[in-house]
Amino acid sequence: MIKFDSVSKRYLDRHEALSAISFEISKGEMAFISGHSGAGKSTLLKLILAIEKPSTGQLVVNGVNVGRISRRQIAAHRRQIGTVFQDHQLLYDRSVFDNVALPLEICGYHRQEAGRRVRAALDKVGLLSKERSYPEALSGGEQQRVGIARAVVNRPCIILADEPTGNLDPDLSAEVMRVFEQFKSVGVCLLVASHDASLIQRLNYRTLILHEGRLCEDRMPGTSR
């Protein structure tokens, strides 16, 4: 589903954020990306979303060569992927309901029509009672969960999450991870960037560890330190 083949990313200032990354994640697989702050976790997710292009190497996501993707294909490519952004990326002049409905609206659903799916997604993250609120009135953790609901509402085949539990207490983190596991069980491919070592350790999934832009360890589930 996601295949990195010696991918490097150099930003304009010639700083190499990722160097020669190679790994593959298949359908129905869930993996963590961990590493220190600045290790390149967010950059890796941005490459998958075609927000940034790889400087060298080949990246194929869901059959699409992301390095060669045309401007027109980008939107359709992103619609296949549900993303939880580190900084939420919510629309602050729209209600929680409308925020979560956005991916469906883009696909041509009318907001009211999308209602059942939006409420199901909000229910999963425990925010059904907040559908009429505006993001500003929510806590950081609640905003993060709105972002998670939006990422899953259109049943994407790939879910990317950048520090999805960054603002959540352990109980809520566990809940969110359970939502992700449900999607894994129906064949969705998940990639979760996190520096929360205890969470990663507890869940025992495949973990890609980045260090200064290099993939220094690809730890398979079941193997512990």
Binding site: A75, A76, R79, Q89, L91, I106, G108, R111, R116, A120
Partner: protein, 330 residues
Amino acid sequence: MRGPHARDQQMSRDQRATPRNSRSVSPGSASRLAQVHRDIALSSLRRMLSTPGSSLMTTFVIAVSLLLPALLFGLNSNLNAVLREFQDNARITLYLEEGVTNSRGLEVSESLLTGTDISTAVYISADQALSDFSAAVGLENLTQELTTNPLPAAIVLTPNNAAPAAVAALAERLQAIPEVSLIQVDSVWLQRLEAISSLIDVIGRALMAIVVLGLFFIVGNTIKLAIENRKDEIRVIKLVGGTDIFIARPFLYTGLYFGLAGGMLACLLQAIVLIAFNFSLRELIQLYESSFELRGFDIGNALLLILLGAAIGWTAALLASLRHIRAINP
């Protein structure tokens, strides 16, 4: 939170409502699409009305821009109406050589009627011309005081085709008749008027082109500012897979509204200008005993102006929004 089982139930219920592959294909029936568009249209309108000052200003600028060429074209259609009215009584006067006798003059006059291009021909002898003249100037005894008649005999013609070009061609042909010494065409000033009219037409077209270009900039700039104001929102929509045209839709409505409103205001202003002019022109027109009335404001023209405004607004918004939305990258 729900367990996986509850979720699966939810999913299968949803699947019945919409096909699984509806993810990337727009699941749109016509009524659904209409509903979606109605919502976008309403929210665009609300956004415009939320800043009444600047919206009104933009509308006014569009209206005035449209008004200028509209007034010129209006002036021209009035000028053409004048031309048509006067063309109906275009006249050609043939002055005959001095030695031509009355009987020869009548013969020439009658021979002219055999063609199809002249509808009436009236022979006026030199004597009659003099008595007509003296009656007209009020000097009844002028005929007695003059020893010789200085006026020539004449034939007055009404051409069938009163268009200036046709009249000029006819006059040229008549010049070849040996008895004719001089030809006077009454419609020379009509020709000048026609030339002025076509000049105004050219100016009107050029002005229209400039105005259309200007409107593209005005509407384009308005849309650019609107996009600038919603940059963050656009960035987010792009991140979750919204296409440029999806993002552009509300801005297209904005452009359409500005064009429509500008067109309607232009019609209103045009009507006001025409009414004001008609009022002051009425006296002048009465002096000329003309049935003429200023025209240029009818439903057809008004609709055309509104339609033109709307088309320009929408197109300008399309070009501007696609350009500026493309430039925003997440």
